[in-house]
Amino acid sequence: MEKKHDNDECLENLWKMKEENQSSMATLKSMMGDDYKPDVVKDLLSKELVALGAEETTITLTPRGEELAKQLIRSHRLAERMVHDVLGGEFEAGACEFEHIANPGLVNSICTLLGHPRECPHGLPIPMGRCCEEARKVAESTVIPVTELKVGQTARVAYINCRNDNRLHKLDNLQVKPSAVIKLHQIYPTIVIECENADIAIDESVARDICVWKPQTGT
């Protein structure tokens, strides 16, 4: 079990390095610090999950290793999303163990429940699972983008997919933030939402990135 845990951690770090276009062994060692164990790399090599470059200065994921790392990262970041949005608390402690025990079915269910979020609370991308690709608009999603609300409906913001700091700040200045209550006033010709007593006109692309808890029918 402990060996699996170590292998998983190493794969996760290699995924993060891939996101930053890095592949040097030194980076991996510095990222893992005291947790770095040469045996783990050997084990991953024997399972053909990683490949070493010339003179062992670089290390990259093989396609199989990449698939496994993607699942781990996806589970981890989804868990963070859930702990942060559903339980509203600090997420790191609870989430860091989750990916080692969750099975893909459970991860997909959480992903669906949360409306297939694209980013973790840190703002890092959550790799897409099959559920996201197949069912982008599944009926049972509990979290939906503002664009899918009906005019006049009120809903609580679950999270905001923030791809740039500027949008994040603009929305935060208007207090459109997780847990804020917003009301959709009109969609045509421009989307207008109400948040904290203020009416705000927004682009459709911005509205798609504001994800809210789906209101009960009739609200």
Partner: protein, 645 residues
């Protein structure tokens, strides 16, 4: 004015858009500062010296600032004022209706460490809605004086003046966590010791504020700046996640807790006029009749009230003067000089004061009602779909709509746009074919004599042309970064009559100060070139274009010459020509279309140069004027030969 004088204390009045900064500034200084229920009313710093509590103060009115993390250029002016001039006191204006949004800025200002006072505005509105804000509790939490105000009536000004003496550095209990706090400290350590506001600047660097670099270069040199940015990047990389998200989440938690503690609401909240009015005005179905109704009201008032007033004033004031002069001044030269066709009294003074001024006065009253009601930003919502077809996706729509008030100011507000393509299109379209309030009033007055259809034809042609030009520019200009459209809409309000009249008075005074010398100068010029025979030569040279291509009588050359000097002067002359029956139906439409398309005033041109540079501005002006003449000729041909008018 900006130099520090130890005897004169500096107060900066800052706040989010539409929080009553200019009203508070006017209350404190007794100097009028243009205000309105829409963003971008103040675009530059305004400084006034005054005495308060037996001390000398320099009070500075500022454009809107959402937070110290800058998102558009007009905010830089305010942040630079705070960072570089370090005012002694900050008065933060807060709209009591939208207190949470303002607290984002409050945290920033508290972290800056400058003594401050909060002016909590529009408390009458919250009270009517059933919302009560415990300002004493808020003051206790923030550690600064909080003064309840109704700035539009001047209520609470004395309390605010007294509070300035008690201004304190605010208190914040927000902690961002060890990792972020340590990162901030490590950036602070790399800054020169003499630099002001090091902690706040370090935080903004960490938040990746791209507008901070020029300030850093000025204050600690290129080498240190590079070093600081490099070090900050390292800190950001070492943080496992999004620093901004973490900072915002801690601040938002504090804001929520604070507001929960100080804001009490009745169980049943009253929506009132504001909500209903704004919703109807931007409703996809009801919004259109509202817009048409407003346009008709403007037309009716200009044609049936303002025009008649101008005629009445002419009969009452001008005719007696004309009679006296013609009887008493026997010299033909002096008679012509004073009251001849190009006399300085005829074409200069009476044109400005008796023809143009009353029309502008009446129109400004109506337009100011629109401005103060908050209708204009709501109109943007209604027009957005249409405008996206011409490359104006949303952010540029507000500056363009503001051009119906003043084109110069609207051109300057394009500084808030981040997309260069959108900015170019906006500046171009503002200059081309949008009538400013003065043009709209005078053109309506000219066309009104010909009936409503003349107005409908002219504005439809201009609208069509405007959309075509927009679409062409959208097609030929290269796409650049797509910028989010996120626009807060001000609440609609019933305008205060006193505020409307005051604003109209100041706008008219400004017009007279700026335009009267130009009117008289232009009359002098016309008189001179007429006397020396230059005008006749010009008329002869331009005859084929004027009478042939454009189908005008030759006197239109006078209008075109005046057009170069001042649009309103040309319009005044046109009004007189229509009254004398010198222009027929078609000529009237073509004349107004032509003058409306021409790049209007020098101030607008200067603003274009400021925003786009000399080269681009010249290209714009040349192409606009050539298009105007080409279109006017084509229109004349179409109306006469095709439409058979």
């Amino acid at each position: 004015m900006t130099t520090k004088n130890s005897f004169i204390k500096k107060i900066a009045v800052v706040g989010r858009p539409n929080t009553g900064k200019s009203l508070v500034f006017s209350c404190l200084t007794r100097k009028y500062s243009m205000s309105g229920n829409l963003p971008f009313t103040t675009l530059a710093l305004k400084r006034v010296m005054c005495r308060m509590n037996d001390e000398a103060y320099e009070i500075v009115d500022t454009p809107a600032l959402n937070s110290l993390y800058i998102q558009s250029e007009e905010e830089i002016i305010v942040r630079d004022l705070l960072l570089s001039e370090k005012p002694d006191v900050i008065i933060q204006c807060v709209d009591a209706n939208r207190i949470k949004q303002s607290l984002v800025l409050t945290i920033d200002l508290i972290e800056l460490g400058i003594p401050m006072v909060m002016s909590l505005n529009a408390v009458d509105e919250t009270a009517r809605k059933g919302v009560w804000i415990d300002s004493e509790r808020l003051s206790h939490i923030l550690g600064i004086p909080v003064v309840e105000m109704v700035a539009i009536n001047g209520h609470g000004v004395n309390e605010l003046k007294n509070a300035v003496v008690r201004a304190r550095k605010g208190r914040s209990t927000i902690r961002y966590g060890d990792v972020i706090e340590n990162s901030i400290s490590s950036i602070v350590d790399k800054m020169p010791r003499e630099m002001l506001f090091r902690k706040k600047i370090a935080m903004l660097l960490l938040q990746h504020d791209s507008f901070l670099t020029p300030y850093l270069i000025t204050n600690c040199g290129q080498k240190n700046t590079d070093h600081l940015i490099q070090h900050t990047q390292l800190q950001r990389q070492n943080y496992a996640g999004n620093i901004n998200l973490q900072i915002n989440s801690r601040r938002d938690k504090w804001i929520d807790e604070t507001v929960d503690e100080v804001v009490k609401k009745q169980r049943i909240l009253l929506g009132g006029f504001s909500r209903k009015a704004s919703r109807i005005s931007r409703h996809p179905v009801f919004g259109v009749p509202v817009l048409l109704g407003i346009l008709y009201a403007l037309f009716f008032t200009v044609v049936h009230v303002a025009n008649k007033l101008a005629l009445l004033l002419n009969d009452l004031c001008w005719l007696p003067v004309q009679n006296i002069i013609s009887k008493n001044v026997t010299s033909v030269f002096w008679n012509d000089f004073l009251i001849g066709h190009y006399g300085i009294l005829t074409l200069g003074l009476s044109n400005a004061i008796l023809t143009v001024l009353p029309i502008l006065g009446i129109f400004f009253i109506l337009f100011n009602v629109l401005e103060d009601s908050g209708y204009i930003p709501n109109l943007c919502v209604l027009l957005r779909r249409l405008s996206s077809k011409i490359g104006v996706t949303g952010n540029a729509l507000l500056p363009i709509t503001l051009a119906f008030g003043c084109k110069t100011m609207a051109t300057l507000t394009t500084m808030s746009l981040r997309s260069r393509k959108e900015k170019f299109i906006a500046v171009y379209l503002i200059a081309f074919g949008i009538p400013c309030a003065a043009q709209m009033a005078l053109n309506m007055s000219i066309l009104g004599n010909m009936g409503f259809t003349a107005i409908a034809i002219t504005f439809s042609i201009l609208g069509l042309l405007w959309i075509t030009i927009g679409m062409i520019l959208n097609l030929i200009l290269k796409n650049d970064e797509k910028v989010d459209f996120i626009q807060e809409l001000p609440p609609m309000r019933l305008p205060h009559i006193k505020a409307i009249l005051k604003k109209t008075f100041y706008k008219l005074r400004l017009f007279l100060e700026e335009a009267l010398p130009i009117f008289i100068g232009a009359a002098l010029l016309m008189f001179t070139i007429d006397r020396i025979g230059l005008l006749d030569m010009l008329k002869n040279a331009l005859r084929p274009v004027i009478t042939g291509y454009l189908g005008f009588p030759l006197q239109m050359v006078d209008v075109l010459v005046l057009l170069m000097a001042k649009h309103e002067a040309a319009a005044g002359l046109l009004i007189k020509m229509v009254a004398r029956g010198e222009l027929n139906y078609v000529q009237c439409i073509v004349a107004v279309t032509l003058t409306m398309m021409f790049v209007p005033c020098l101030a607008n041109i200067m603003a274009m140069i400021k925003e786009q540079g000399v080269k681009k501005a010249l290209v714009m002006i040349l192409s606009i004027n050539c298009t105007a003449i080409a279109v006017a000729g084509g229109l004349n041909w179409f109306l006469v030969h095709v439409a058979g008018l």
